[in-house]
């Protein structure tokens, strides 16, 4: 790795983050985070889900304002009131979510910030020419005149990168830029990043993929739970093991789940050769009664999609699903709950797990209204409250009243509410997707123990997580998913290091094999 000589003074640094903090209701997303990039430096920012990486990017690009701390460009304080200010200051970003105008052409999307004009009218010849220029560095096959909505996800991501490039920024931020693109495009992208570095552009590179970080980054900053675990560390000082342990931490988690025996003969949920419209192929899994089956994978591996397909949120294109031995095709959550006693705790608690404007009572009781109601469907608030009180208490939701609006609760308490409603529903199979993202440590441990208790009570749990410690702490058995396929299985003997190595091994084995289908 090229070494950058240390220069004196902040002005030598293209981008400086100085003790930046940002909090949202209930969560400290960033806590006095500091890091710095020199021109021509590729700086990786790593961390688990919820570590604060996206928040940091949003602050640098002007979407959020920090509660405390400064952002400095070339040593000067930069205050961004909107993304426009950030663009003007020379910052370009490729965010995780797609930000393209569906009905506009590729060319127009790329140059949207500054459409070239001639005599007051948009000069489409120039739009296409210049967009072509930026796009060719990455992918010659995408037509600049094509409407973005007709492109594949991978192509859209390439267009986003081209868009950021067109800004010819001083500082480029890439948030998981290779999440959906092919090997070939990734190589082209890295070539490009190398060229930009030579031109003196400072590049922030957020990625889960260790190989990529080791391949191109000069330095790395690791965030964990909103704080800096290590900052500005030269990659030459870094090893894979050290990086992983910095990311996931080696703190003793308070949850200590004992080993449990699972009845192997009682399979409650099974899939054989499952294929979905999302891209899954040949997924075989079996969930036993009272078991906690972990499904581990990195962002974009396809775990959530698989879970959703099981409960009707996606099309099953092949294979079979068996619930308690009977072949089924579940249409929607209504059927899943009413007929098959399956529950689903979504990873997006704010949009899917909870109704923020309603009270705790209404949120928890939603799964049991029909059961509670009398003949005419009548159901009083007091009866409701009495029915859910035990679950609210069991989950230790801190609230003076059940009529408290859920939107006003802290993140941890919100998550507890979204779990409570499934406890109240008395489900037999519970699918849990990323239960503790962005949750404080204490609540995390509490929820982990709770999951253990539920399973001990006979509920079968399918636990999806991208947090290694979580899944190793809680799951009895861990399936590893990568690129929409199951690539391995690890039994849980609670020995952390060998297990995490084995899990990552499965993932990298697939990554390092050249992609035959191209």
């Amino acid at each position: 790795m090229a070494r950058r000589a240390h220069r004196n003074g902040l002005s030598a640094m293209r981008l400086t983050i100085d003790k930046v903090s940002k909090a949202f209701p209930g969560v400290r997303a960033l806590d006095e985070v500091s890091l710095a990039l020199a021109p021509g430096e590729i700086h990786a920012v790593m961390g688990e889900n919820g570590a604060g990486k996206s928040t940091l990017i949003k602050i640098i690009t002007g979407i959020y304002r920090p509660d405390a701390g400064h952002v400095l460009i070339d040593g000067k304080d930069a205050i961004f009131n909107s993304p426009r200010d950030a663009i003007a200051a020379g910052i370009a970003a490729v965010h995780q979510e797609r930000n393209l105008i569906p009905r506009f052409t590729v060319g127009e999307n790329i140059l949207l910030e500054a459409l070239p004009t001639q005599n007051g009218l948009v000069d489409y010849a120039r739009v296409n020419r210049e967009a072509r220029r930026h796009l060719d560095l990455l992918d010659r096959s995408i037509d600049t005149k094509a409407e973005v909505r007709t492109l594949s996800v991978a192509q859209m991501q390439i267009v986003e990168v081209a868009k950021a490039l067109s800004l010819e920024a001083k500082c480029l931020l890439l948030d998981e830029p290779t999440a959906s693109i092919t090997e070939h495009e990734t190589a082209a992208l890295f070539d490009l990043i190398g060229k930009l570095r030579a031109d003196g552009v400072a590049i922030v590179f957020v990625s889960h993929k260790l190989e990529e970080v080791f391949a191109i980054a000069d330095r790395v900053t690791v965030l964990r739970d909103g704080k800096v675990a290590v900052a500005n560390e030269p990659m030459s000082n870094m090893s894979r093991g050290r990086l992983v342990s910095l990311m996931i931490g080696r703190e003793e988690r308070e949850a200590q789940l004992g080993r449990r025996t699972v009845d192997q003969s009682n399979v409650v949920l099974e899939t054989r050769g499952l294929a979905t419209s999302f891209g899954h192929r040949g997924v075989d899994l079996a969930l036993h009664r009272g078991e906690i089956l972990g499904l581990y994978g990195l962002v974009g591996a396809g775990r959530s999609e698989l879970a959703r397909a099981l409960v009707g949120g996606g099309t099953i294109t092949g294979g079979e699903v068996f619930v308690r031995g009977k072949p089924t095709r579940i249409r929607d959550m209504h059927e899943a709950l009413a007929r098959y006693r399956i529950g689903f705790i979504s990873e997006d608690r704010k949009q899917e797990g909870l109704i923020l404007m309603h009270s705790i009572r209404e949120n928890v009781a939603i799964t049991i209204w029909r059961r509670l109601a009398g003949p005419l469907g009548l159901l009083g608030a007091r009866k409701e409250a009495r029915a859910i009180q035990p679950y609210v208490q069991r989950l230790d939701v801190r609230t003076p009243s059940l009529d408290q609006t859920v939107g006003n609760l802290s993140g941890g308490n919100q998550q507890k509410v979204s779990v409570a409603k499934w406890l109240a529903a008395n489900v037999e199979i519970l699918i849990i997707d990323e239960p503790t993202v962005g949750i404080d440590i204490k609540t995390k441990a509490y929820l982990h123990e709770l999951i253990g208790e539920i399973a001990a009570g006979g509920v079968s749990v399918l636990l999806i997580s991208s947090e290694m410690p979580e899944i190793i702490t809680v799951a009895d058995r861990i399936l590893v998913m990568h690129d929409f396929r199951l690539v391995g299985e690890v039994a849980n003997d609670r020995r952390y290091d060998p297990m995490s190595k084995a899990i990552m091994g499965f993932i990298h084995a697939v990554e390092e094999t050249p992609d035959a289908a191209e």
């Binding site: 993304p83 663009i87 965010h95 930000n99 105008i101 569906p102 009905r103 506009f104 459409l115 489409y124």
Partner: protein, 317 residues
């Protein structure tokens, strides 16, 4: 067969086909359909309708709704007429003033929507009521009858089947087409409608786009009002009363996306032609005029269904 399928995919092909088909049927069923006089009548009603459709089209483009199109039109109409009849304002000045009034009304809508953060639906529902109220408060339902002869003549004269009145909407159509396809503000407007977040991240001001769209909508409603007065020969307070449905029907049948981000000037024009054709046909065939309303409703549903079918097929759903 593939050629046919490709043709169906073109946005306004269905419309064009319907128009041609409708025209053929009508000329066969009603002998006086293709007479110069009848075409003239049809084109005349087309003028105001087109502008009304455009007025809603521009707000749809940015993802907004303007329920006050008709009410504002009525208000501008009577102010236009009243200015000339009561205040003796000369015609050219009155025209300018009317257009400005329309723009001002639209501006009120836009600013209220953006400043208060309240849904444009409610804002324009309220202002529609307010505009209507002012209209009837001023006129007490009595039209202004004494319009300048120049205006009335402009509204009536024609070159064979081509009414002079048609010049204005055609110019407006060309300008709008240019605006949305080739100018930066126009593209920005559609960007905000297509994906407000993405537009914001690209440095486009969402608020400004909304205000501009509403102001433009009001302006177009004002122009429509002026033409309506010319067409009727008097400034009636009831002008605009039946514009609401038409204002939505035309752009939607013409292929506009209800959520914003895509509109079609050409499609809207074809839609208005089709609607005018249907109305004309009803009159000629001496069919119950109420069929028009019924068919309009059916047409909207058909257009929307067709759009969704297309979207699902091209995988853009």
């Amino acid at each position: 067969m593939r050629m046919l399928r490709r043709l169906v995919m073109v946005e306004w092909s269905g419309l064009a086909a319907a128009i041609v088909l409708g025209g053929i049927i009508l000329s066969w069923v009603a002998p006086n359909f293709l007479t110069e006089f009848n075409l003239y009548v049809m084109l005349r009603s087309f003028c105001v309708s087109l502008l009304v459709g455009f007025a809603q089209m521009v707000t749809l483009g940015v993802g907004q709704l303007n329920l006050s199109v008709g009410a504002l039109g009525g208000l501008v109409a009577i102010c236009f007429g009243g200015m000339m009849e009561v205040l003796g304002v000369p015609l050219p000045v009155a025209v300018v003033a009317a257009v400005v009034l329309g723009a001002a009304g639209g501006l009120v809508n836009g600013l209220l929507t953006v400043r208060t953060g309240i849904n444009g639906f409610i804002i324009t529902l309220a202002t529609a009521s307010a505009f209507t109220g002012i209209n009837f408060g001023i006129t007490r339902s009595i039209p202004f009858y004494k319009m300048p002869p120049v205006l009335v003549a402009f509204g009536e004269q024609h070159l064979s089947a081509f009414p002079y009145l048609l010049i204005a909407p055609l110019i407006v159509a060309a300008l709008l087409g240019l605006f949305f396809a080739r100018t930066v503000p126009g593209r920005h407007l559609l960007a905000v409608g297509g994906n407000p977040n993405a537009a914001d991240l690209s440095g486009i001001s969402r608020n400004r786009a909304v205000v501009v769209a509403h102001a433009l909508s009001g302006t177009l409603a004002g122009i429509a009002a002026i033409l309506a007065v010319a067409q009727l020969g008097s400034a009636q307070p009831t002008i605009g009363a039946d514009w609401l449905l038409l204002s939505f029907a035309a752009p939607i049948i013409g292929g506009a996306a209800l959520t914003g981000g895509y509109i079609s000037v050409l499609g809207t024009m074809f839609a208005v032609v089709l609607i005018a054709l249907i109305e004309n046909g009803m009159v000629l065939a001496k069919v119950d005029p109420y069929w028009v309303q019924f068919l309009l409703g059916a047409l909207i549903l058909a257009a929307v269904w067709l759009n969704r079918w297309r979207a699902v097929r091209t995988g853009t759903d």
